[in-house]
């Protein structure tokens, strides 16, 4: 059963991968600039924040349900971290600022987790409520405005992992150090989800809560823990975003959640819980980043961007239904795999 499930999940990812390749070839054929080194680095660069958010969205989706509060957790916790850094005049290594941000992110995530675990409300409604609350705190109570970053983060932001320049066009592009953070987060998440009992628990409670409880998983603790960790990852993503734009921009965060959720759904995560992989979530993010970044290269006007994103989401989410229609027996197996 597990083999079958893996195979089927691989199929979703395989299709996303094929779409990515076809899209890349199309853009390359029309513009000749897709596989240029600066464009590739640009895409990698713009993937960093959405891919970090995607981990939050994936963990929430697999175990409980949609979480839409991560952009505002990111905004509020990175704001607090930056303000505290200014307040204390701290000028040491950058990761201390990240730790401060993660602490506040964890607190906000804990609020989400507490309400969802204690009252068993739908996570979509709860996180909509809390993100509204955080937005009010950020813009109303703190009156956050755009501001420069502290020195320690500025130094971190100006370090580059690699720089490339396109010989033909003379356009250059740089990959910031935050890319390493992305890799580290994915490696940790991959290891925990695949090789530890807690990681299996995340999938188990999403698949079937009661069975997971009977099997000895502490459903409440795991669920609460997921939201705390989501808060921490969101804080990291928020700080990465600020570091990469070299400024703190409080109003730039909100509104990103829907595209991220779309990305992980394209990558094969199911709304019903229990299904979804990090690979799929990276591929889905890559696909949507390509659409937003490179459609213009293919000569398609920016006006059409939303139509494309909407279309891709609808087609992507309809794939399971189409598979079901194409082969009745295979469709049934999908259902069985889900419940396993």
């Amino acid at each position: 059963m597990k083999n079958l499930m893996n195979k089927l999940i691989k199929q979703t990812e395989f299709w996303v991968f094929m779409i990515i390749i076809v899209l890349a070839l199309l853009i390359q054929a029309r513009s000749g600039a897709f596989f240029a080194n600066n464009n590739i680095v640009d895409i990698m660069r713009s993937m960093i924040c959405p891919a970090l958010y995607a981990v939050c969205a994936l963990l929430a989706f697999v175990s409980t349900g949609p979480d839409v509060s991560f952009p505002l957790i990111a905004a509020l916790s990175s704001y607090l971290a930056i303000v505290i850094t200014y307040g204390t005049g701290y000028d040491g290594p950058w990761f201390v600022v990240y730790l401060i941000g993660m602490f506040f992110g964890a607190l906000m995530g804990a609020l989400n987790g507490f309400i969802i675990v204690k009252y068993k409300f739908p996570s979509l409604i709860v996180t909509l409520g809390t993100s509204s609350l955080f937005s009010g705190i950020l813009l109303g109570a703190f009156e956050a405005e755009r501001m420069e970053l502290p020195d320690t983060l500025q130094r971190f932001g100006s370090m580059n992992l690699l720089t490339v320049s396109n010989e033909k066009t003379g356009l250059g592009s740089a990959l910031p150090m935050t890319f390493l953070i992305l890799i580290v987060v994915y490696l940790i998440a991959y290891a925990v989800l695949n090789f530890t009992m807690v990681g299996r628990g995340v999938y188990a409670i999403g698949g079937d809560e009661i069975s997971a409880e009977r099997a000895g998983f502490d459903v409440k603790k795991i669920r609460f823990g997921i939201f705390v960790i989501n808060g921490m990852i969101a804080a990291v993503a928020g700080l990465c975003y600020s570091v990469m734009s070299m400024k703190y921009l409080p109003t730039e965060f909100a509104g990103g959640e829907m595209v991220v959720i779309a990305a992980i759904v394209l990558g094969g995560a199911r709304l019903t819980g229990g299904v979804g992989t990090l690979k799929g979530c990276l591929l889905g993010t890559l696909l949507l980043t390509m659409v937003t970044n490179s459609l213009i290269l293919a000569g398609i006007s920016v006006y059409w961007q939303k139509v494309f994103i909407g279309g891709i989401i609808i087609i992507g989410t309809a794939i399971p239904a189409i598979q079901y229609f194409l082969g009745g027996s295979r469709g049934k197996k999908v259902k069985g795999g889900e419940a396993a």
Partner: protein
């Protein structure tokens, strides 16, 4: 019968809350709050998102959700605005075209949800991007203005001091209350929302019901788009993006169960009134930033959920004791 009773209780609770709030507002800010002009502005504002909340609410009653209300409304406003700009195009035809657009958008959602079995949240998540994209494409990304005077006058017309927009809202509320409470189709929406599987075995055609529900939601959102076109004299692809959250909040505040099956239209209507009064009341304090409203709404949403949860729990405990 029992379901009916709990629904009434919720409406009663909300009505008491509404009057209590009016009393507090009247005592603390009587001179600047209890004015006809303020109530007229409130009437105009609340009818737009109030209608979207009704649309979203019936989808939630049917066990789904509609995140695309706001964008359907914008699309309809843009369609109507563009048609009205053409000289010689009758206004009534533009209005009908907009409403048909709304119903078509809703039917598209319904098709995705009932026939392709995409979870409602994801389907409307994708379709709202699509609708917004179409709005951007047909409007060229800028706002559609130059609305004929004959139509935009509707935004400022009052009948005996009541804004016409509010009368439209009221009419739709009454029609929908009747539809959801008294007709077969309405009852079936509740049944499908309570338990889709048993509804199916009871011989209800779930696909028809769901498609109808989302179509209705799109139609109501279309009316909301027409109202805002009249009020602000223009339509834009990204107008009122914060309304989505507000609509869900209103529906939940009005007693709609996010899991489906429970809720009533009068409850939603009273919740709209409460929210609009709260926000107008806050506006009378100049030193409270508008952004605080976000926080208050967030707290209200979760607070109401928790209160409903506790009341429900206490009631079941009481019933268990009696048995």
């Amino acid at each position: 019968m029992k379901k009916l009773k709990t629904m009434d209780e919720n409406v009663l609770r909300l009505t008491i809350l509404l009057f209590a709030f009016l009393l507090i507002a009247g005592v603390t800010k009587g001179d600047s709050f209890l004015k006809v002009s303020i109530f007229q502005t409130m009437g105009k504002q609340l009818s737009e998102y109030g209608l979207m909340a009704v649309g979203c609410g019936i989808c939630m009653i049917s066990g789904g959700i509609d995140l695309s209300c706001v964008y359907v409304a914008n699309l309809c406003g843009i369609v109507a605005g563009l048609l009205m700009q053409k000289s010689g195009f009758p206004i009534w035809a533009a209005v009908i075209a907009a409403i048909v657009t709304g119903a078509a958008c809703g039917a598209f959602n319904g098709f995705l949800i009932s026939c392709l079995k995409i979870p409602a949240m994801l389907a409307t998540l994708g379709s709202y991007q699509l609708f917004q994209g179409i709005s951007v494409v047909i409007s060229g990304g800028s706002s559609v203005g130059n609305i004929p005077k004959a139509y935009s006058a509707f935004g400022s017309v009052t009948v005996m001091g009541i804004p016409a927009a509010f009368l439209v809202f009221l009419a739709i509320i009454i029609a929908m209350s009747f539809f959801m409470g008294k007709t077969v189709f309405g009852t079936r929406i509740y049944l499908v929302g309570t338990n889709a599987k048993s509804a199916m075995f009871a011989g209800i055609k779930n696909k028809t019901i769901l498609t109808g529900t989302y179509m209705l939601s799109g139609l109501i959102s279309g009316c909301a788009g027409l109202l805002s076109l009249a009020r602000i004299n223009s339509a834009k692809a990204d107008f009122g993006t914060s309304y989505t959250m507000q609509c869900i909040l209103i529906a939940v505040l009005g007693g709609v169960n996010p899991n489906g099956g429970f809720g009533s239209i009068p409850g939603i209507a009273i919740a709209v009134l409460i929210l609009q009064m709260l926000s107008s009341y806050l506006n009378t304090f100049p030193d409270i930033s508008n952004y605080y409203r976000d926080s208050i709404w967030g707290i209200a949403l979760i607070g109401v959920l928790i209160i409903n949860f506790t009341l429900e729990k206490r009631k079941t405990a009481r019933q268990a004791k009696m048995n």
